[in-house]
């Protein structure tokens, strides 16, 4: 993809629905027409207007690429004071009216913001917190059960737990990390490959895990191993997850 196409894609992703960008451009035009103060014009009109061509310039994109990856180019758009420009123009507009007209104008502007934007708390990934750690309860319970004071233990966890475990308890190590789940590495991992096979081979998994010093294996109850795992015994079940413990690797300090 050439530079300009990448820039356009970054803009498209940044704008999202695009309504707020339209609102911003209207606010910019409003400030350009009605604002007479030289300093305010510089910050609410000229500066944002200058930032846009700078951002679109492929040469600037190339220079940026020397320092960072193209995917973070959207951060340049943070330099455009979108919220101050819209808020300033709206407050200027509202204050230019009096009495009922002002109330109507506030109502209209509020509706415009609500319609153009999207409430953060309705986002799919925004969910009620289970606890003070803002982690799923099962992660906290399982980590607490496996934690050993004064040493690290290695635990094979299912994909849904990968991103949480080490945030909560850095003394727990994981044989393969989130980079595999996200495709951030091209290397393969034998344990991950073995866990992904259908049907899974408990003997192979057991041998691989003991070879890599994995103390515990955690799987959802629905994926419990039908045949017994070599070198591992079923240890306990917590919040719908079965934990297998290695019979030979000790977890003493």
């Amino acid at each position: 993809m050439d530079s300009f196409a990448t820039i356009l894609k970054v803009i498209k992703d940044y704008m999202g629905t695009g309504f707020v960008t339209v609102l911003f451009l209207i606010a910019l035009a409003y400030a350009a027409i009605f604002e007479k103060d030289r300093v305010k014009r510089c910050f609410f009109v000229y500066m944002p207007a200058m930032m846009i061509p700078v951002f679109l310039c492929p040469v600037f994109f190339k220079i940026y690429g020397l320092f960072s990856e193209g995917v973070t180019y959207y951060r340049i758009l943070w330099l455009i004071p979108e919220i101050p420009v819209i808020a300033y123009s709206m407050s200027h507009l509202v204050m230019s009216f009096k009495g009922k007209a002002r109330v109507f104008c506030v109502f209209l502007c509020t509706l415009l913001v609500i319609f153009c934007g999207k409430l953060m708390y309705l986002d799919t990934y925004m969910i009620p917190a289970d606890n003070i750690y803002h982690m799923p309860k099962y992660v906290v319970d399982i980590c607490d059960a496996l934690h050993v004071d004064g040493r690290e233990v290695q635990v094979l966890v299912p994909d849904e737990m990968q991103q949480f475990v080490r945030q909560y308890d850095p003394c727990i190590c994981i044989p393969y990390g989130r980079e595999y789940m996200m495709g951030l590495t091209l290397e393969s991992d034998e344990i991950r490959d073995a866990m992904s096979e259908t049907p899974r081979d408990p003997e192979k998994i057991g041998r691989l895990c003991v070879y890599r010093y994995v103390h515990y294996i955690v799987v959802p109850e629905s994926m419990r191993f039908e045949k017994s795992l070599v070198y591992y015994d079923e240890y306990m079940t917590i919040d719908g997850y079965v934990i297998y413990k290695n019979m030979y690797l000790d977890t003493d300090v």
């Binding site: 960072s68 951060r75 009620p128 803002h134 080490r166 909560y168």
Partner: protein, 363 residues
Amino acid sequence: MMSACITILFEILMPLLIGAFFGLPSNKTACESKTAGGEKSSGLLLTLARAYAFGQILLFAIFEPIAVFGVLKDQEMPFIIKTFLAASAVITIFFWILIISKKLPDMKGLVKSGFDKPSVFGILAFLIFLFMIVMSFIMTYTDGDDAFYITVAADAASSDSLYAKNPYTGFATTLLFRYIFAPFPLWISFLSKVSGMNVSALAHTFFPWSMILLSFAVMYIIADMVTDGDRKKRGAFMFFASLLVMFGDYSIYSASNFLLARSRQGKAALATFVIPFLFMILYSSFKEMEEMGKISFKNLLFICASGFSAALCSTMGGALVISFTGLSALMMAFTYKKIKYPFFAVLSSVPSIAFAVLYMVMR
């Protein structure tokens, strides 16, 4: 409970103490200008907002070189904590000596004057702000990047090692050059170490509200400056700004999204606190050029501090600060037909690029 109180103390008191010099309304002090930074208005809320925002920028700026030096010199977390606390203490004492030697402003009068009587808009903005604070405690946003950033902080707090482990697995790794020049996770680790609170609890529950507070403090200062202290206009500005933040989920890259969803990451601090702060300082510098034909030492100092703070938040942060300052300086030179002070402004933003250059050389 105890650790929660200590966290709140560190998150609020430290910036207020070190930033008091820049918050207190004192036209007598050497580096305060008459009009810069909303000096005309002297409400208690504005004083607190200024002290808090200026103080936090200073703390970030002090932390950045110490943390990078610590990582490169293979030091451990206690080194960073001790050095940072000592440096902050010295600077805080220095500013308080300045405050006292230049005679304390009428503190009684300031406290007595209390908060400006809020307008209806101001009350609405405050309610939205409170709602966002409450939601930051009871709602959570699952973001995969936390698996890296928060775990780096957790590793540093638990084993004192700095970027020595692969955060995804916990195994030893070579130095992660892409990240070590923007050690924002170590700031979270620092707060966790001094308060004794679990890193995860701190980052997800006790950090977001302080970022929202910081972001609104800067927004309030900007509102006061651009509305020339007009109470009603300022309230309306804050109302629409807070509404725009709350309804900012139109894109995952918007600054509002970062503030409410990923406030514990350095990128969020950059987008919602450091860049708006720089905007405020540059606006203030323009005002100074307009009214006095020069930029005060204070503003040049804080352009520099913003650069260091931005570098703490993101490897590209320093470059963003230079770009923004450069553009403003260009505009300033054209507007006022003067080169000297715009040049000084750019010059004061240059040191922050050192970290990005180091990254380019060492990667």
